[in-house]
Symmetry: C2
Subunit: 246 residues, 2 copies
DNA sequence: TGAGCAATGCCCAATCTGGGGCATATCGTT
DNA sequence: AACGATATGCCCCAGATTGGGCATTGCTCA
């Protein structure tokens, strides 16, 4: 199996086009005993090239179903993947997130489209949309349970290859990271401090603190400090651990 | 090799204490041909139990060197790991980030401590500190280049095991119960809406929206809406997926 | 059937925030 | 030497937020 993984990693590194990578993924998925694969960013797709990475061989109609409901960020499998750093079987979902009725509906509908049980490997890079790479059996077919380690590897390397290809396709605006001072201010903002309090804590003027916070907002395009805190937490610029420490 | 990985994953899942996991990591690192391992969150450590995950067997003195310079978030290897979703050899660093003189100094100093070349596997979970799991050869020794796939697997599963152990260690937080309306308002607050906008969206008066938001703040003891959003996200009253959907 | 709570509404006043603009000093890099 | 990025400072001002208080309606549960 290791040789197969190695071969996939080598091929994936060579690939220069999305279709090529899709082809490779389809082949390896089949060999591992899966009918389907799906490598995607967890964003709502509505046609733009800049939407994000997406490669899959799900049954006809599923993508339309998925997009019509804008499931990218809210699909239960995607949501569960936001809470872990390694792959998991979909049968674990109830232990990972609270499944709402809408979630259950999505899972049932997937079954109706012919999608059975599956494995999903999360792929998160700070500052980018969250993503994942899934492998699924056909409805009714058994999931090759012993393949989690292999799938974990294939999924991770496939996602990285996809990132590389998408970066080549549109190398554009690299989002300027927050400056050190902006992060410091941001931490205190997320801790509920006012501009003035932040200035006293950091030993700078009220106006300068305001400025750093304003620039952090602009970096994220956040209209106010609440959304700023949410966005910065989501992409890892600051973490709950730091913010709520002590 | 796959059996070795499987055995590690099984053992790691059983582990209930950090030291146990460290022991397992040390063993597998040695078997793979590495002298050192380091599994850590990328935060500045200053002694608190809540600082984050950190397990390593680096040479005596290195941790003090590292902490004195607060390298957690700025260490060049850590920084490089923030730009990828799969493991990489440290020899790739110059192609991944711009190495400043300070970075070069850190790498040179690591060599003086006896740390040679290594592999690092990133581990990111939205809303948590970034982290990674590294394996390094002794200074002068060759890096087992063919082990990247194995290291990728061990690193990922080890990090997840560490997250599980640290979560168990954290004291459980009791949830202030929010009313349904409070949660609805809160969602829009976290999305960056003003009181007035929330009132229009929910079809209630400006004053009533203010009231719900105020009461939600009081439930959490949050001094303002930014901290309210952070607290509510942290304990799961609202989730990134709901907030950032669409 | 009365207490408690969720949800709704309104008013006031002090403070905070967000959007402008202007300006200087210090770094690197080019 | 010029440029860009970062960090620092100050001013103005409209609108948003927060912290008080007061009051009604409908529901549930003991």
């Amino acid at each position: 199996m290791f040789e197969r993984v190695d071969a996939f990693v080598r091929d994936a590194r060579q690939a220069t086009m999305a279709d090529e990578l899709g082809q490779l993924l389809g082949e390896v998925a089949g060999e591992l005993g899966f009918s389907y694969f799906a490598l995607t960013h967890h964003v709502a797709f509505d046609g733009g090239v800049r939407d994000g990475v997406r490669l899959h061989n799900y049954p006809c109609g599923w993508q339309e179903y998925f997009d019509a409901r804008k499931l990218g960020p809210s699909d239960p499998v995607h949501r569960a993947s936001h809470g872990t750093s390694v792959g998991f079987a979909w049968s674990e979902l109830p232990r990972m997130i609270r499944l709402t009725e809408a979630d259950q509906q999505v899972l049932d509908d997937a079954g109706r489209f012919g999608i059975g049980n599956g494995f999903t490997v999360p792929a998160h890079v700070p500052g980018e949309s969250n993503g994942s790479c899934s492998f699924a059996a056909a409805q009714g077919a058994a999931l090759p349970e012993e393949q989690l380690a292999t799938v974990q590897l294939i999924g991770a390397f496939a996602f990285e290859a996809a990132r590389r290809i998408w970066r080549m396709r549109q190398p554009p605006v690299e989002q300027p990271a927050l400056t050190g001072r902006q992060v410091e201010c941001l931490l205190w903002v997320a801790r509920g401090k006012s501009d003035w309090e932040v200035s006293q804590i950091l030993g700078i003027s009220h106006e300068t603190a305001k400025r750093h916070i304003k620039q952090a907002r602009e970096r994220y395009g956040s209209s106010n400090r609440s959304l700023l805190a949410v966005n910065a937490l989501f992409d890892g610029a600051i973490s709950f651990r730091e913010v709520l420490r002590r």
